[in-house]
Subunit: 397 residues, 2 copies
């Protein structure tokens, strides 16, 4: 009956958001989400900070309208946080966001006309694919290997499509958990600069490192304003505060601000102030260290369970950090078609196909290990392995 826009009329909800509704049942062992562990959320610290903020002199400024660009103490703390990642930005080089995802949306809003090309790693974060669809973009996947993007494939697509944007999650990628090496990062920045393609470097996960050494952000190789770096405190402080920032060249950041004026005027200052104070008081790094120990245990538990239960023909990544393991099932098993059976057996995951720009990945799954304790991880993986064995057996018959 309604004359909806072309961008939305055939678009359904994202798999992660829709499955979140299903898997809020406590009997479900969910490997589907991408959430920090609820028991790792710093409730007491946030309660303490919030009480101080709302009884202090700054309370009025926190409740009243404020600048679209962001609440000044949060911008200041975010700048310091970025500096520890090796990223130095100008005063007008930061835009506060309502969650990192808003940065992806605003970047598309600022750059993409209908039909413009955006390059993504194949597979990539499914919500970015959804966003790019709402801007009616031409989404083209770039091949990747163990080092990062395959450079000759990237260059040939930069040449062929003159894309406006390249979107990457270079550290503990969603969905694969992969990290691009430093040389690959430098080469990506140089290539994109040469072809005039702006890079969205999405970094929700780099602080969640359990092994190995940090790799510098793409942004640190950027000399000419080619990279907009988007990072978020959703995974390291609390998701529902939606505290995140974009950092980049002022000319591009200004367009994000104008886009945000229309989209939602400003992010809630209370949420920004809480995270600012959390950083200022020095809660961030010690709490993170405690939480990393929890996540490392869970990653190891999932890898151990996969090693123990999965039949031959199932392969999976061994990520140094992040929230996900990426598994490839025996050829011919359709992970999306298998999902109802898994849910009937109280286990959920996201089928990998959702993450591919141009099809494929039918036999892949994304498994999140942060939201379940070791016993449930073991039980859930055992259940999944049974289902996969049954499917493999059926196919043999």
């Amino acid at each position: 009956m309604y004359r909806f826009s072309d961008r939305l009329k055939d678009l359904n909800g994202t798999a992660t958001r829709e499955i979140l509704k299903l898997t809020s049942r406590p009997d479900i062992i969910s490997f589907a989400g991408g959430m920090p562990a609820s028991e790792c959320l710093p409730r007491a610290e946030i309660a303490d900070i919030t009480a101080a903020l709302l009884s202090g002199d700054g309370a009025t400024a926190i409740l009243q309208y404020g600048k679209t660009e962001g609440y000044a103490p949060f911008v200041e703390q975010a700048a310091e946080y970025l500096l520890r990642l090796g990223i130095r930005v100008a005063d007008d080089g930061i835009q506060v966001l309502s969650g990192g995802q808003q940065g992806l949306d605003l970047m598309c809003k600022a750059f993409l006309n209908k039909g413009d090309t955006v390059l993504v790693e194949n597979p990539t974060y499914l919500a970015f694919l959804q966003i790019a669809k709402t801007y009616e973009a031409n989404i083209v996947g770039v091949d990747a290997d163990g080092d990062g993007l395959v450079l000759y494939d990237l260059e040939s697509k930069l040449k062929r499509y003159a894309p406006k944007l390249l979107y990457v999650v270079p550290t503990f990628s969603n969905p694969t958990g992969k990290t691009y090496c430093a040389e690959n990062r430098r080469a990506i920045v140089e290539l994109c600069e040469r072809y005039g393609t702006v890079i969205i470097e999405d970094d929700p996960y780099s602080r969640l490192r359990y092994d190995g050494a940090d790799v510098p952000p793409l942004k640190t190789f950027d000399r000419n304003g080619t990279v907009v770096f988007v990072t978020s405190f959703s995974k390291t402080v609390a998701p529902s505060l939606r505290a995140a920032v974009a950092a980049g060249p002022p000319e591009a950041i200004r367009k994000l601000s104008i886009g945000k004026q229309g989209a939602d005027v400003q992010s809630p200052a209370l949420c920004q102030a809480i995270v600012a104070e959390y950083l200022r008081r020095g809660y961030f790094y010690p709490t993170l260290a405690k939480n990393l120990a929890v996540y490392k245990t869970r990653r190891d538990a999932m890898l151990a369970a996969l090693d123990k239960f999965m039949p031959d023909g199932v392969t999976y990544t061994r990520p140094d950090g992040g929230l996900f393991i990426w598994a490839t099932l025996p050829h011919g098993i359709d992970a999306a078609a298998m999902l109802p059976e898994a849910i009937a057996n109280n286990v959920a995951y996201i089928s990998g196909r959702e993450f591919f720009a141009d099809g494929g990945g039918a036999n892949t799954v994304r498994l999140n290990f942060s939201s379940s304790d070791e016993a449930r991880i073991d039980e859930g993986i055992a259940t999944l392995a049974e289902i996969i064995k049954r499917k493999t057996g059926e196919r043999r018959k």
Copy 2:
């Protein structure tokens, strides 16, 4: 250097947002904003509620990821709030928003293709014009008179343009302070239904009534899903909580949810929970009553100052509520060109031209009376009157 999108490449910031940066100087008497009075913000109540929320059982749910549709206790309280306005909605007929403005953006996202027509009252809320521009819409103004929209003009434009959307602020309109009468509302709904045009009824102000009786929302005349009602707690609780909802037919609300998944995943649950508890505890109506007394005094002070100081040839509205008085200056005075002189004399306003879809209004100004006390209102209006007299004198020479 950057290849920005057509929608943003020539778009500058909205006048209200840009002037907010200027007028944060305490020596400026600002009639430019549209903010509730800072001294009316319920700081103590919010501090109290927040402490209880963050120490209670629900704290984890408030900090963790939640549903895009909204935090359930807020949706429930919002439904009750709507019922008091005469609006009954289905369970899946509410979408939580990050500020009412997000509802306007998501409605455009859900309905407008490039070049589609959207009708607006002339003049209308300037941010809506900005939003519609980012969707590259054809924006057409509809004439208005003391009763509301001029119905024959509305119908002729419904016929001529087959617009996807009509946007109205029917109660204490921004910028004019005008309220449409009940008969006009009923007729608008019937006409739009007949022509298949969806109405965005934006209601940030109807609770800010100082005189007269409530007029039922357009939504109460809607029998067939023609109206999406957007309302916000920014003006009545606290702007920076960004707590707002859209209410309407589930099929349209579903598209807003899908649009919001991409835009920002979800609104902060903490902010939603604060407003939910503020309503549940019964703080809303008594605090509102106290604040209305403050605003009424300020409206009266501004009207008295206008009566006292303004020269012949200046006319202005006498609104029963809301936050704005709309003044028309003598023909030939350009309010935008006069603004730098006003600011040099420490007074700010928004030039009326910003609110017109199709030009005009050069000699109009929007004056906000909620943010200054009576003495400063008197002083600011006296200063403005002096400048206008000088301009009128110059023109006579």
